[in-house]
Symmetry: C2
Subunit: 156 residues, 2 copies
């Protein structure tokens, strides 16, 4: 638990590690299992185990069993505190799109779209058409590589 | 320069270090000189020098001379790319306020307010009353410790 007075510093005590935010990005995208996240990030078992354990300990992820009782396994699901990191990821994505150069033309670019009105948003956390918060149920993504496919965040 | 396809990962290659974001927080708050930032963060000369140099190299800060010609010194000013990190800091602050506990009642809490309409915003980067981007000229802060004092970001 951070003792910092500044809420930015307290956030960074939990989120201020690049792998932690990239693990959250994977889970938001529907990649919820250890092996999948490991493959998605090219990360070692030890680093990934540490980050996942920390995210569970800090209350951002829950472990959810799947696959029956013989060989039970877990996948990671976002808690409310985990879901609330979405504006941080969106703000980072917007900065990255604006101020860094993608090695692939249009590759991986994520457009944030409101599922209520179908319009892209100019804000990281707010539908600028409906004038309402872009919560999990309202948020969709389109990748520039597959612009015809709308990914609903809630079911990703 | 990051080679990552994902804009979140490219952002984190520049911003994914807690000290880097805390240095930017200081400069946004008007603390622009080496000794002041060092005192504000309780950071060593070496770590601070490295982070400032990296922020200059990546185009987020510029060095601006002050104090005449006999003993010229520099202060650090935000470039456009630096100013555009504001939604990242606001998103982190919002998450920290919501999901971590301040050791001081109300201490250091930053309320984001639109200078056009005088209303606090529910978004990290958008005035939810005016329905317009919270750019540098439009953004004000109030600290819970001094709620009567409105700090205009542009002149902080």
């Amino acid at each position: 638990m951070s003792e910092a007075v500044c809420p930015v510093a307290r956030s960074l005590d939990v989120l201020g590690d690049p792998w932690t935010l990239l693990v959250l990005r994977e889970v938001f995208s529907g990649n919820r299992r250890f092996d999948g996240i490991k493959a998605g990030l090219g990360i070692t078992d030890t680093v990934l185990s540490n980050r996942l354990q920390r995210l569970v300990d800090e209350g951002l992820l829950d472990r959810s069993p799947y696959g029956g009782t013989v060989r039970p396994r877990v996948e990671y699901v976002l808690t409310e505190a985990g879901e609330d990191t979405l504006p941080v990821l969106h703000a980072l994505a917007r900065w990255g799109r604006r101020h860094t150069t993608s090695p692939v033309r249009g590759g991986g670019i994520l457009l944030v779209e409101c599922l209520e009105c179908g319009q892209p948003s100019e804000s990281a956390d707010w539908c600028t058409t409906c004038v309402a918060p872009l919560n999990r149920d309202r948020t969709g993504w389109r990748r520039a590589s597959e612009p015809e496919k709308l990914i609903a965040l809630a079911t990703a």
